[in-house]
Symmetry: D2
Subunit: 301 residues, 4 copies
C-alpha cells in the first residue's frame, strides 16, 4: 500500500448533548471526499478518539466507511493502552471496512515503555490485525517517544507498512526514512514542518490542515516532488500561522472552529474540551484569509 | 470523611491469559485487610486501570467491595479522558459500593487542559457523583499539572473532599495544604517524599509501599504525628531505595514482583507491561531486606 | 566550621554608570551585620558575580571584608567555568580574607559535566584553596545537577565542608544529608522549601530572604530546631509569596527593589539585568506588608 | 557582508600545563585555511571561550588573525554575561582585526532574559561594536532561547548582519528566515539538521564538522544550492553518526580527538573538560571511515 500524498484526519462531530452526530459526519465527509485528498483517517487524535467509548467508535467507523469511496485509503485510529484492547480494536475496524489501522503508542506507564515493550505491543497487534498497521508516534501528547531504532526493528514486519510521526524533529524524521525499507511509508503528522519533512524523505502527511486548506497542502507536496523547493518554502511559510492555531494553541476545538468558518459543520468538541473562545475566531479568520480564493474555488466545484 | 493515615493502592491480578483473576484478588485482599492500613484504593494507576475495559472494572469493584470491611474507606479510581465517561464511571462505582472515587485528571489534550477546563470537568463529575470525589494529580504520567490555584477553586465544592498529589514537589504540596480548607484531605501519592509531605501538612498517603511495607509507612506517619521528626527522617531514608524501585524503575511490574517476594500473588502485569527482568528480583529482595522482621512479624499475626 | 543558621547573600551595588558602588556596599553591610544573621555571602548569584570582572570581584571582597566582623562567617563566591580560574579565584579570595569559598558548578559544557568531571574539578579546587570549600548546586541556573552520589564522593575531602543546594527537590536534599558525614553542612538555597529542607536535615540556609526578612527566616530556623513544626509550617506559608517574587519572578532586580522598599540602597542591577517594572513594586510591597512590624522593630534597634 | 557557505569553528589548543598553545594554533590554522572553507570562527563554544580569561582571548585573536588571509571572513566570539563586558570584548576583537563578532546570548539569569532584555543587550553591543555583529543562539548550552520574534526586532539594526542558530528545531529556523530581511544571514550551528536548515533558507553553517570533514559539508551545501535534494539527503544521512559523536556525546573533547585522528594537533581540552575515554577513539574512527578518501585527497594537496 503506497500512502504518498496528503491525508485528512476527520474530526468527530458531537451534538449539543455531547452525543456523536452521525448526520453531520455524513454531510462533512461528502464534502471532504470531493477534495483532491489522497485518503482519510478517522478516530485519530483530531477525531477525539480517546473521548469515545468502543460502541461509539464502531458507529463512527460504520458511518464513515459508507461515505469514503473504495480506492481511496480509509484508515482508522485504533490505538489503545492495553495490547489486547488494541488487538480487538484493530480487528473490529477491519471487520467494519478499514483499509489500514493507525495505532498510537501506549504511553500511560511511561518508564516501562521501553523499545522492547513497543516491539512486543506492535508485533502482537500486527500479527493479529487483518489489515495493515501504521505506527503512530505523538510524543507531545503521549510523553513517550517511538525512536527510529525501534521503528527499524518493527519496519521489517510484513503487516507494518508505515508510521505517522507527529513531532517536528526533522532529524528524527530523517532517521526514520533512512532506517526503514524503501517501501515503508513515513508520513508527517504536522504541517508546521511539512516542507522539511518532505525534504528529508517523507512520502506525505496526515495533516489537520488537510481538512481546512487541502489544496495548499497538496500543492506543497507536489512542489517538493517537482523539485521546486524555493516555491515550496514560500508556501510552507504561508501555512505556519494557521498550523500554530490548529496545533498548540487551540487544538481540536480550533480545527472545528476553522472548519465552521469555511462552511463545514463538525459540531462542538466533547468535554472536557470546550469550543474556542470568541477571541480565537478572529485569529482563525485572519489566518485563513490568504487561502480564501482556494476555498471559494473549491466551494464552487 | 477523614482520610488521615496510610492507604494501599491494590494491584489488579491477571492470569496467564491476560484475564482479570478474581480469585487472586480475593485472596490478596483478605491479607491486605489484615494489615493496620486506614483504607484501600482499587483501579488506581497501580491497579493498571487504564488497561481494563468498563466491564472488567465493574467486576474488580464488585469482588473488592466484598473483601473490604465496611468502616474502612474503600475508594475506587474512576478517572476517564471524557467528562461524561468519568461521570458514568463514578456513578457505577458508587452503585457497586465505593465510599469515594479518585478521579485522575484527563490529560490527553494537554494544551487544552487549562484551569477552567479542569474546573468544568471536576465540577460536572462532583455534581453527578453519588459519593465524594478525590482529585488526583499525577503529572509524571499525565503530563498535565493540576495546580494549587485550581485545586483551591475546586476545594469549596461540597462533594470534593481531597486530593491525591503524586508529585514530589513539596512546595506544591505545601501550597495545596495552605490553599484549601482545614477539612480538605491532601494525600501524598509517593513514598519518596512522604516524610516531607507529612511535614508540610498532608493528612496521609496513598502509597504503593503501603501494600509492601505497610507497618513502616504507618510508623512514619505516626512518628510525624507525634512530633518525632528525627526518627521519622531516619525511617524515610530507609524507605527510599524501595520506593525508587517500585516507582520510576520498575513501576507496577516492580510492585507485583515485590509483593510476590513477600508471599502475595498478584499475578502478572497486563501487556504492554511485562514482568520485571530477573535482575530486578535481586534488587527488590535487597531493598526489602531491612523490613524483613516486619514481614515476619506480620506474617505471624 | 559549623554553618548552622541563616546566611544572607549580599547583592552588589552598581551606580548609574554601571560601576561597582563601594560606598553603597559599605553602608548596606553596616546595616546587614546589625541583624542577627549567622554570616554573609558575597559574590553569589544574588551578588551578580557573573557580571563582574576579576578586578571588580577583588574590590568587592576587600570592601566587604572590612565591613564584616571577624567571628561571623564571611564566605565568597568563587565559581568559574574553568578549573584553573576557579583555583585562582579561591586563592585570591582567601588572600583577601574570605573564611570559606562557595564554588558553583561549572555548567557550560553540559553533556561533559559527568560525576567524574565534577569530582576532578572540586578536588583540584579544594586541594589548592587555602580556605574551606562549599559546593554549590543551582540546577535552574546552570542546567547541570550535582547529584547526591557525587557529593558523597566529595564530602570526604578534608577541605570540602558543605554544600549550598538551591533546588527545591526535598528528596534530593534528604539524600544529600543521609549520604554525607554528620559534620558536612547541607545548606538550603531557597526559602520556598526552607521548612521542608530543615525538616530533612539541612543545618541552615543561604537565603535571599535573609537579606530582606532575616528575623522571619531565623525564627523559622529556630522553630524547627525546637520541634515546633506546626508553627514553622505556618511561618513557611507566610514566606511563600515573597520568595516567589524574589526568585523566579523578579530575580536579583526584585531583591534590590525589595531592599529599597525597606530602606536599603543597593543601587541598580547591571545590564543585561534591568530594574523591575513599576508594577512589581506594588506586588513586593504587598508581600512585605505582613513582615512590617519586624522591619519597624529592627529599624528601631 | 555575505556569509553564504561553510565556516569552521576553530578549537583552541592547550598544552599539557593547561596553557594556550599558540604554536599549535598557528600550525593548525595553516592547514585549515588550505581547505575550501568560506571562513573561520575563533573563540566560539568549540573554542572553549568560556574557559579563557580576557588576556588569553586577546592572544588567541592575535595569533589567528595572522594566520587567516584577508578576504575570508574572520569572525571572533565575544559573548559575555554582562552587556558592558560584551561591548569591551567586541571592541577589543575589532581592534585586533576581527571582521565580525559572534555574540552568544547571556543566559545566567534565565528568568530575566526576556525579549526586551535581549534587545537592549544586543542593541547596546551593536551600537558600540566597530565591526558587524552576528547573534548567536545555543539554547542547549545557555538554557535561554532567542526567539524568531526577538530576532526580527534586532535584524533591522544596521550593524546586526545575521545569526548562528545552533538548535535543531527546523521550524524555528524557518521562522528566522521568513522573519528577517533578505540579506540577513541565518547560519545553521549544527550539522545534524544542516540539510533541513539549508532547505528552509539558511545561507550556510558554522559547523564543528567543518573542521573535520569540510569537503563533505561544503558538498552538502552545494548540492542544495543546485537543487539536488535527493543526493543532499543521502549525504546528510552519512554525516549523522559523526555529528552525534562530536555534539551531544563527546563535545569539544570529541572534536579535538577527531582532529587528532586526521592529523591535526589541537592539544587537550582545558579542565574541567577532559580528553575523551579510549573507547571513544574507536567510535570516532568508525564514524570518520566513510570520509577517509576525502581526507587522503585533501592531505595530498
Amino acid at each position: 500500500m503506497n500512502l504518498s500524498g496528503v491525508f485528512a484526519p476527520i474530526p468527530t462531530p458531537f451534538d449539543g448533548d455531547g452525543a456523536v452526530d452521525a448526520g453531520k459526519l455524513r454531510t462533512a465527509l461528502a464534502r471532504f471526499v470531493a477534495r483532491p485528498l489522497t485518503g482519510f483517517i478517522i478516530l485519530g487524535s483530531n477525531g477525539e478518539a480517546v473521548l469515545l467509548d468502543e460502541d461509539e467508535s464502531d458507529r463512527v467507523i460504520g458511518v464513515a466507511r459508507e461515505a469514503v469511496p473504495k480506492g481511496r485509503p480509509f484508515i482508522v485510529g485504533t490505538g489503545r493502552e492495553s495490547t489486547q484492547a488494541a488487538v480487538r480494536a484493530a480487528r473490529r475496524a477491519a471487520e467494519l471496512g478499514a483499509d489500514a489501522v493507525l495505532v498510537r503508542t501506549p504511553g500511560f506507564f511511561k518508564t516501562q515503555m521501553t523499545s522492547d515493550a513497543f516491539v512486543r505491543h506492535y508485533t502482537t497487534v500486527a500479527d493479529a490485525s487483518p489489515v495493515p498497521v501504521l505506527l503512530y508516534n505523538f510524543t507531545a501528547l503521549t510523553g513517550v517517544n517511538l525512536l527510529p531504532a525501534t521503528v527499524s526493528r518493527l519496519a521489517i514486519h510484513p503487516n507494518i507498512i508505515g508510521i505517522k510521526e507527529s513531532g517536528g524533529d526533522v532529524a528524527q524524521i530523517a532517521d526514520l526514512v533512512s532506517g526503514t525499507p524503501e517501501d515503508f511509508n513515513v508520513l508527517a503528522g504536522t504541517t508546521s514542518t511539512f516542507y522539511a519533512a518532505l525534504s528529508v524523505g517523507c512520502v506525505g502527511g496526515i495533516l489537520a490542515l488537510g481538512c481546512v486548506v487541502p489544496e495548499a497542502c497538496i500543492r506543497l507536496y507536489e512542489l517538493v516532488k517537482e523539485g521546486r523547493h524555493a516555491d515550496a518554502r514560500v508556501l510552507q511559510q504561508q501555512l505556519v500561522p494557521l498550523t500554530r492555531l490548529l496545533g498548540p494553541t487551540y487544538g481540536v476545538p480550533g480545527l472545528k472552529a476553522a472548519l465552521a468558518l469555511i462552511g463545514y459543520d463538525l459540531g462542538v468538541p466533547r468535554a472536557p474540551l470546550a469550543p474556542v473562545p470568541d477571541a480565537a475566531i478572529a485569529s482563525l479568520r485572519a489566518a485563513l484569509a490568504p487561502f480564501e480564493e482556494i476555498h471559494v474555488q473549491s466551494a464552487a466545484r
